[in-house]
């Protein structure tokens, strides 16, 4: 059968104004200036989330208590990126681990330096490499290094 004409349409996302929860992320960023990682702790089950949501997934109650989290942790899983988000090849493969920091129950994604791709493994101990000059943004936490 023959090809038929194309007409264009769009999903006009540009017209949206999204209110997005930010307490957890803002609290985390603010404290990073002092090389501190701060999450929120459920008063009932004790789960520590970072960035901290305003409620506990499991207990379904409000969370308002802050809790400090270590900058050392363990790799739970990882990937090695060979292409960027658009699928173009990267110059150097990039190791991206998902890390469970000590004292925290949620996981955080990042970049791992100082180790060859073939040597990274689940369970590996890592620590945060902090920036010398910190501004209260996520750039303060530069990457993970082996412990």
């Amino acid at each position: 059968m023959e090809e038929t004409k194309i007409v264009n349409g769009a999903w006009e996302l540009s017209t949206f104004h999204f209110p997005i929860e930010g307490r957890g992320l803002k609290t985390m960023l603010k404290n990073m200036k002092d090389k501190k990682l701060v999450g929120f702790k459920c008063p009932q089950c004790g789960m520590v989330y970072m960035p901290g949501p305003f409620y506990c997934r499991k207990c379904f109650i409000r969370i308002d208590d802050e809790a400090e989290v270590s900058d050392h942790g363990e790799i739970m899983t990882f990937t090695i990126g060979y292409a960027d988000v658009r699928g173009n090849p990267l110059d150097e493969p990039r190791i991206a681990p998902v890390v469970k920091l000590d004292g925290c129950d949620s996981w955080i994604m990042g970049v791992l330096e100082g180790v060859k791709p073939e040597d990274v493994h689940v369970g590996m101990r890592v620590k945060v490499k902090w920036a010398e000059e910190r501004t209260g943004s996520l750039q303060d936490m530069q990457y993970f290094l082996p412990e």
Binding site: V7, N8, L13, T15, F16, H17, F18, P19, P53, F60
Partner: protein
Amino acid sequence: MDNKVAIVGFNMASALDLETTRERLSFDLTRGLFDDLGIERDDVGTFIICTNDFLDGRTISNVFLDPSVGAYMKDESKVEMDGLNALTYACMRILSGQYETALVATLALTGTQVSPYLHIGYTLDASYDRPIKLLNELSAAALEARSYLAKYGYSEELLDDIALQDLANAARNPNQARRLEGVSKDQIAGSAYLYEPLRELHCYPATDGGCMMLLASEKRAKELCDKPVWIKGIGRSTDNYYLGDRDLSGSISASQAAERAMGMAGIKDPRKELDFAEISSLFAHQEPLLAEAMGLLEPGKAAEAYKSGDTAIDGKLPINPSGGPLGGHPICSSGLMRAAEAVLQLRGEAGKNQVEKADVALAHGQDGVCAQQSVVVVLGT
């Protein structure tokens, strides 16, 4: 459906700007409902979320809402239509015997996050109506309005009378988003034309809102609350998409849906047996149009009914005693809110808007352009 599924509780909020996020709105309303009923999330068997990706600005709009309605590690599904369809699905899950309780969770931030008109824009025929650019939610409603007025030779003044009744009811209702104290007919008739004959105050306002409702089986309902409201009948139907193929002066979807719902509820004479109706009339003319289609108003008698007060709170058959969607229309929640308002009336808790006799009620919801789809639920004590 003889008293097998009941509404045991609900919690809703609506405003022009709720100053909240989707997650917070859904958590706050759900938590509030659980506290009211003295239950926890483990007491809920299944969750039906009702949101729409084009309103939420997200593909799979329930992705971040499962935990915030308490569905973490629970059975959950999503209906993407008016909330009364989600109520229908929840009801089915209980009727099947698989679950004793079901939470229906609806919300949309169509007051502050996104224009409510976009969502209908995306339902239009992408290969024809969208490139032609003549139809949109408002122009389609205006064509429907003129068609209805022309059918009986009504003047545009009827629209002002309808809007006045609804907006005055809404002004007294704390659950409504648009509360215009002391609203007058002149104010309505003086508001700007959007598409003739529809003026600004004949149309629903852009609204933020959400409504969470817990349904339960007969046994659980009696344990969970003193005043369960029973779902007596449900009916749904679909009309053609193409406006040019439809008789816009009536509504096939509403008449078929109502016939099915009333058939199930055993209602033969709706004007006698129903005590009031909550109708998703997004535009003033839709209230008598839909009421007529559902057999609640005598055809051609709308002008008299609104003048004489038959449709008012103290009238023969009150329509939208809550104020209806002209007082607030958070898409997805709107139809469920009609049911929630009906529950308030049936429990005698509707405050200043309480109708005198409230034992059997009808709630209506719609989807698509000019109510292409309707869903009707009959509720009773």
